[in-house]
Structures are given as C-alpha cells and as structure tokens.
Subunit: 223 residues, 2 copies
C-alpha cells in the first residue's frame, strides 16, 4: 500500500500523514527504494488510533506520541502499562501548586477504599488538585460522602476496564485495550455522566408546566 492509498483508506490527507511520520506518531513504511515505501494494515490501524486519541480523546500530538510509544514498547509488563498510559495522558500539574488539604483528603479516601496505589500515580495529583480547586472557589459541598460515592463509581469503572482487558485475545491486544481504554474511557464515562445527570436532574427538579424544555435551548445559530 502506498501513501496515497493509506490516505484514502483512513481519510487523512497525505500532508498530515507526512506530519505524523515526522512526529513519530506513525512508523515509517518498509522502504522499497530510496524514496518509496510500502504501508500495510498496521499503518492503517495506527492512523486510526492516532486520530481517535487526538479527536475523541482530546490528546495533543505530544501526548499521543507518548501513548503510541508505550504501545510500541512491549518490554513493559502489563501491570505497569496502565501507569504509562495514565502518565502519558495526564498533564503533569504544577507539583507544589496545591497547598490545600486535597492531597490528604484523597489519601484518606484511598485508605477508606482499600486502594493501594503508588505515590506517583497521576490520579492522586489530579484528584487532589480538583479538591483544592473546589476549595479555592469557595465550593465546600464536596463532602467525604460525595467523594466516596465518586470512589465507588471509580471502582465500578475500573473493574469494568480490567474485565475488558482480561477478555482480550492476546497480550498485544491487552496492551492496546489498556491504552485505548484509558483515553477513550474518560470520554465514554463523561458522556454517560452527562446523560445520567440530566435524568437525575429532572427526577429531582421536574420542569414546571410551560417551561421550555432544555432541548429548546439548543442553539441552532451555532451551526
């Protein structure tokens, strides 16, 4: 398969493919002559993966590059692949930026949940930062009860994630599922959360008669 065919198959312009080659997102094809290369199905899959990470997962090119780098490195045991994928997709927060009690609250939550996690896990910083941000905004409604309910939900999702990983056919697919799932799972859950929020919102606060439905606020002037 030549580059134009790779472009046609994936719907990605040739200059963009060249860009991905330059950035290391896409491995070079097999060179058949000094300026000819052959691409195959793995390249098609890789381009689709990259587009998924960028478009759906919202990663930057640099982050996506780190992710596919982890995918290509099969020397890493599966147990640690999560960490690599997580670190790749989680932007490193300013380390000493959080001077709130977020870190302690998250640590206490981990203890209550029986979570045993490495201190470098980026989720710790991420969650602590959010807690601190709530405090800084004066929103003190994120009680430990709320936090624990989030934690239970996280346990549920993590169990589902690992279940999906476990049902993979081989080690290579497992790794791929881990990496893809880490990124796409965030988006999937965010979408479901929005649906559940709306349902729960109407359950608690039914619209009075005659009030415009929320869908009527859909702004068609944006299109």
């Amino acid at each position: 398969m030549r580059m134009s065919e790779l472009s046609a198959t994936t719907g990605t312009p040739v200059p963009t493919l060249k860009f991905y080659l330059r950035e290391g997102l896409l491995p070079a094809g097999e060179r058949t002559s000094p300026n000819q290369s052959q691409y195959d199905e793995t390249h098609v899959a890789r381009v689709r993966l990259v587009r998924a990470l960028l478009d759906v997962g919202g990663l930057s090119v640099a982050q996506a590059s780190a992710v596919v780098g982890a995918l290509d490195d099969d020397s890493v045991p599966l147990s640690t692949t999560f960490g690599i994928a997580q670190r790749a997709v989680t932007q490193p927060a300013a380390p000493a930026a959080s001077r709130g009690d977020g870190a302690q609250r998250i640590a206490a939550l981990c203890a209550r949940q029986g979570w045993n996690v490495h201190p470098y896990n980026p989720g710790l910083t991420m969650a602590a930062r959010v807690i601190d941000t709530y405090s800084a905004l004066g929103v003190e409604l994120i009680t430990d009860a709320v936090l624990e309910q989030y934690a239970q939900a996280a346990d549920l999702v993590a169990a589902a994630d690992l279940e999906a990983v476990a049902s993979a056919h081989d080690e290579a697919q497992m790794t791929s599922v881990v990496v893809v799932g880490t990124v796409l799972g965030d988006a999937l859950f965010a979408g479901l959360r929005r649906i559940a929020q709306e349902t729960e919102s109407f359950r608690r606060y039914p619209l009075p008669e005659g009030t415009p439905a929320p869908g009527d606020l859909y702004n068609p002037e944006e299109s």
Copy 2:
C-alpha cells in the same frame, strides 16, 4: 479594588486580566471615571473560577466564556442549567460522522437504565462517538455488560453531583455548583479512575518478584 490589586490577589498578570475583560470572561468593573474602574470580591471569585475552568477543567477560553455566560444568565431554570453547562463544555462532534451502531447501543443502554434524556443531550453524541471509535479501532471488548457497569457508575456519580447541588445554600450557589461541578467533576472522576485502575490492575496481575514497580518508570528526565 483596582486592577493591580485584582491582579495581585489572584496571581494573574494585568495584561491577562485585560484579555479576560476583552473576551467577556470577566465583567467590567464599576467605572468611577472614563478610565478608572473598581473591582470587588465578585471579580476575584470570577477570575479564580475562570482559571479553574481553564487550568483544571482544560476548557478553551471560548468554552469558559460560554460557561460563565450561563452562570450570569439567571433567567434559566436550574433543571436546564446542566444542559447548558454540558453543551458549553462538550465540543460538538461532527453530527453525521458516526455511522456505526454506537447511537443505537447508547439508546438501548438508556432504555435499560431507565434514563430519560433529551435527544440533544451532548452526552449521547459523545458516548456514541466513543463506541464507534472503539469499533473502528477493532476493539470489540466494550460489551453491553461493560457498558452497563459504566452506566451504573455514571448513575452513582450523577446522584452524588445532584446531592452536592441540593445542599447548596441558595439558587445562585446551586447554579455555580452545577457549572463548576460539570467541569471539575470530569477531572475528579478521571483522577479517581486512574487510582482505582491501578489498584484493580495489581489485584488481578500482581507483579512478579524482582519486577520494577510502576513508580520506577516515573520518568524524571521530563522535569
């Protein structure tokens, strides 16, 4: 309070504040003369909110602008504020882009979960798109069982979200909690999910003796 003091209090440079004023992220102060304005605590809070949306929530300036716009518009009933916040923070996906069965699967999931949601809810598109993306990547491991576990988790989180909203002191704070919670909740859950994933991963796949711990893969050369 003058602009320099607002800048000092929030740790945001004066030119940036001017930029936020231009972009409508920050309302103008009370003008005391043609070129003097007074700012108050509401401006301090607003700047902190904007920084939280941008830095922690990862929103763009345009998205943050839409969010604070929804905050400022108190003519909207609370029941629909979620929808506005959601639409503001969810990038509109290409509408006809998904030709997979993601939309049907999500619709079926909603039916099973008893979710009653407006068709314009951005979570529907978002989740459907993720499902389609999994399919396009050849990862067929997101079974309905996995999806349902995600949905249960989403219910849990949504209930916690609405619980937090319900405990707000007044309508204004409620709206604020809705908007902030929609954005920060995604980040909070993502962090907790990473922690739960690592815990669950080690539970299922314990490291063999002598294998480097995942934290040892923490790459200090990045700093």
